[in-house]
């Protein structure tokens, strides 16, 4: 086009580059290319390709459990139909052994893998890096992974006992209490840094170290260029044996903050992958110049309407817990759920890319999910009946009243979420039609979440992205000081009990009965109105082949993708 003045040779060179580079649009730049402190999604997508891992993790779709694999051992048998190439292991560990008391985990490492500078990867790298993960001056966001190690019960991991590296290929973790094998593997397989490069970096300047911009790894890709706020270019690492050099020669993560522009770039074929496409744009993509596939992953994200279960004024005044004047009763909360046309919201916005939710245990976590619980159907008559039984009768202005208080409140949500805006308007109408006055207010995200944490809001709409290990006590625990994310102030001692019982089981499948009861209780009590699960949707240009997206990540097997040359670029 306007490059007509370039010589054709130059253009061909440029074209060749495009043919061997997959371009992924990212919303924001990486912060640190360092597994110890990297915190943004872009960071972990990138350093995951650069750094080696002790184990390889896989999501087993038939059970919804995480599977862990060393090069010669796996926790569960692998699912059939795994692509052949993925059988090459990216794990540094050859095998492991969990002691009978579930308190000592011993890994045997491969002795044939090196960092990119030729230095062997040894157990000492892992031990060294875990000390960094534990360092309060470094403030790693992954400290939680060390919570079961010896010494953690007294506040600080005792590294002389907790992690030992008796020789180059043996790595021993010791826990202060019995830990299930799965959790132990999960928590001990954080990525290592090369100790010989990092050992002289003092903790207080760790985050400032230029090594963060210039990582030495061993994975399928290595950093070729990082233009801050523009792009990160990775190139296939010919020396990698973990699992091997990436198939596509270059991966470019391009930072494009605006959604409309990301979408336009996908449609014209200038970008190959865009995550989180909104359902309203699917039609546009189908008719786009570039050939685009839309892939969906599992259900990990849900929206909900939160109701404060407790009277926050009383709680903030002197710590007393009494029911909220509007939402304190489970019957009222159930009435609210019945009054909201959740299916209507789904049909209007997400369509087939959403599913009604019953509780916060995702249908993708099959081993724990309660299939028999039916989501409440839209039933305003039943809602009215429940409300009137509770004493909420229509007032002169059409708004229900009880003891002189009218059923009127503000529903808050955070700015910039089209889906929640859409839902909140329908919720407002639904509630109005049964005599409840709900006003809407949108707050800037930072402010909104701060108000949530301080339990200042009576009613709000928000969402959660769930972890793959079920651990909901932070969100429902009765000890409101400890349960930082229990914004509703919901308290039910049986829920605490069930969570602790489930956690104590060494085999997660044995915990299923507890989770079944847990879901029944949440369904009955409706501490929040669970709205819907969101199927995340990612757009892929058709020139990419072999992509397997799953609930772990869109880029789960990116090192195995291939590019079909000039399929779209030539247009």
């Amino acid at each position: 086009m306007s490059l007509a003045s370039c010589s054709s040779k130059e253009r061909q060179a440029g074209q060749g580059i495009a043919d061997s580079t997959v371009v992924i649009a990212m919303l924001g730049d990486a912060n640190y290319l360092n597994p110890v402190i990297g915190a943004s999604v872009t960071s972990s997508n990138v350093y995951g390709l650069i750094y080696p891992g002790l184990l390889q993790s896989e999501f087993d779709e038939s059970t919804g459990l995480l599977n862990f694999l060393a090069s010669e051992q796996s926790l569960m048998p692998r699912q059939p139909g795994i692509p052949e190439k993925m059988n090459t292991s990216s794990a540094v560990a050859k095998s492991w052994n969990m002691s009978d008391d579930n308190r000592t985990l011993t890994y045997i490492l491969r002795d044939d893998v090196n960092w990119n500078d030729g230095t062997p990867i040894t157990s000492r790298d892992f031990r060294f890096t875990y000390q960094l993960y534990a360092d309060p001056l470094i403030a790693s966001p992954r400290q939680q992974y060390l919570a079961e190690l010896e010494g953690a019960q007294h506040g600080a991991v005792d590294f002389s006992k907790a992690i030992q590296a008796p020789d180059d290929t043996t790595l021993v973790f010791r826990f202060y209490k019995p830990v299930s094998e799965r959790l132990a593997l999960f928590h001990t397989s954080l990525s290592p840094l090369p100790a010989h490069i990092w050992k002289n970096v003092p903790s207080d300047v760790f985050r400032q170290s230029p090594l963060n911009q210039n990582p030495l790894g061993a994975g399928p890709y290595r950093l070729s260029e990082w233009k801050k706020q523009q792009h990160i270019l990775l190139e296939s690492n010919p020396d990698s044996r973990l699992p091997g050099p990436g198939t596509i020669r270059r991966i470019m993560f391009r930072i494009i903050p605006d959604y409309t522009v990301r979408l336009a770039q996908l449609q014209t074929g200038r970008v190959d992958v865009v995550e989180n496409i909104k359902p309203e744009d699917f039609d546009g993509l189908r008719n786009a110049a570039a050939d685009i596939d839309i892939k969906t992953t599992g259900l990990r994200v849900y929206d909900y309407v939160g109701w404060s279960n407790i009277d926050q004024d009383a709680y903030h005044r002197d710590g007393t817990v009494k029911p909220h004047p509007l939402f304190g009763s489970a019957d009222v909360r159930r009435a609210l759920t019945l009054a909201i046309d959740r299916q209507g919201i789904l049909d209007g916005y997400l369509g087939e890319y959403g599913e009604l939710s019953v509780t916060d245990i995702s249908p993708s976590i099959k081993w724990a999910y309660h299939e028999k619980l039916e989501p409440y159907t839209y039933d305003p008559q039943e809602a009215i009946r429940l409300l009137e039984r509770e004493g909420w009768l229509p007032g002169p202005d059409g708004i229900r009243r009880k003891d002189g208080r009218s059923f009127s409140f503000v529903l808050y949500t955070n700015a910039g979420n089209a889906r929640r805006n859409f839902a909140s308007v329908i919720i407002q109408q639904n509630l109005r039609s049964i005599g409840i006055d709900c006003r809407l207010d949108v707050q800037e995200s930072n402010v909104f979440f701060k108000n949530l944490r301080l339990r200042k809001l009576d009613a709000w709409m928000a969402g959660w992205s769930i972890g793959l290990e079920i651990d909901p006590l932070d969100g429902w625990g009765s000890d409101l000081e400890k349960s930082r994310f229990n914004f509703t102030g919901y308290r039910n001692p049986r829920i605490d009990e069930l969570c602790n019982l489930a956690k104590a089981e060494l085999n997660p499948l044995d915990a299923r009965p507890y989770w079944i009861e847990y879901q029944e209780i949440l369904h009955r009590d409706q501490p929040t109105t669970f709205l819907y699960w969101i199927r995340e949707t990612q757009g892929f240009n058709n020139r990419i082949e072999g992509e397997e997206v799953n609930i772990l990540s869109t880029f789960y097997n990116i090192d195995d993708w291939t590019l079909n040359p000039s399929a779209t670029v030539a247009r």
């Binding site: 253009r11 060179a13 495009a18 309060p136 790693s140 966001p141 400290q143 523009q230 391009r254 336009a264």
Partner: protein, 321 residues
């Protein structure tokens, strides 16, 4: 005049300093928390506290202020919270040239376009051409720029596919050679600069038209025509020169607007310039970066005003500074 400039610069120092102090307290008192990102399930509750400690946010606010004052007086604006502890000066050094490029190109395009349209409008006063130019100018002048930008992207990047929608360069542009790289860069700048300058140009066109109409009616223009000079010479040499006097002063005044315009243009077109840095810093509550950005934009606005006042004196000898 030198003395005047010197005095103005001297006054500017406490002014900027006051603005920075105000910003310092406002952003700290505003709701939100730089460590908020680390308060989420699965992250130990200690992390947010450790991060706050690292940033020095657990001191009382007056202690923070004194510490901040100490380092700013030594020219150290600190390190960014949200950008991997990069010194903020470095962040700005990377971002500022991009914004300045866009701003300068826009400034030039603003005035060239605006003056051209204004002169044509004035010379062809009340003709169909003048009317359509006037309506067109008002049409673009009243259009929200972000919306205009998105429309331009849809038209030129998505439908016609003649200009790129984002980024400063194509992938693999490094291999185009220096000339190809330059052209590629220009190609990427066409849409954003057009969007930014059309709005401003429309305003300037109105000024030029008004000023030109006044000048054309002056006696010396009639004299020039009577001398038998070509119409082109009359308009451009005798008319335009005089009509531009009031317009020149707009240069200084339009700088802040162009800079604030660059703010959203950079977000939409994915340019890593000052605008994006500022917006992201505010959302992340990246205090040191917000303050440094305020410093830069405050300085530019004050300098812009100074330039405007000085230009007044330069072009109009009746004004003495």
């Amino acid at each position: 005049m030198i003395f005047y400039i010197f005095r103005r610069l001297l006054v500017a120092v406490p002014l900027i300093f006051g603005v920075l102090t105000l910003t310092f307290f406002i952003i700290r008192l505003a709701p939100g928390d730089p460590a908020a990102f680390f308060i989420q399930p699965g992250i130990s509750p200690n992390v947010a506290e450790q991060i706050r400690q690292q940033y020095g946010l657990d001191d009382p606010i007056y202690v923070q202020y004194v510490k901040w004052l100490g380092s700013v007086l030594q020219g150290d604006f600190g390190r960014s919270f949200s950008r991997a502890q990069q010194p903020v000066i470095e962040v700005i050094a990377q971002a500022l040239p991009i914004t300045v490029t866009i701003a300068l190109l826009t400034l030039v395009a603003n005035f060239v376009l605006g003056i051209a349209i204004g002169v044509v409008s004035a010379v062809k006063q009340n003709t169909l051409l003048d009317r359509s130019l006037t309506v067109g100018a008002l049409f673009f002048y009243s259009m929200p720029e972000f919306w205009f930008a998105l429309m331009m992207i849809i038209l030129f990047a998505l439908k016609l596919q003649v200009f790129p929608a984002s980024g400063l360069n194509e992938i693999g542009a490094e291999y185009f050679g220096p000339w190809g790289f330059f052209l590629d860069r220009v190609w990427h700048l066409v849409l954003p600069v057009t969007v930014l300058s059309i709005n401003g140009a429309a305003g300037i066109a109105r000024y030029v038209r008004g000023s030109m109409l006044e000048v054309i009616r002056q006696d010396y223009i009639r004299t020039a025509r009577a001398k038998g000079l070509a119409e082109k010479t009359v308009i451009l040499k005798h008319g335009l020169r005089n009509a531009l006097l009031p317009v020149i002063t707009l240069v200084g005044g339009s700088l802040p607007f162009i800079f604030s315009g660059a703010l959203f243009i950079e977000v939409i077109f994915a340019f890593p310039g000052m605008g994006r840095v500022t917006v992201e810093a505010i959302f992340a509550r990246d205090y040191p970066l917000i303050i440094a950005n305020t410093f830069i934009s405050g300085t530019l606005i004050i300098l812009g005003n100074l330039v405007a006042d000085v230009l007044y004196a330069v072009v109009d000898p009746r004004i003495k500074l």
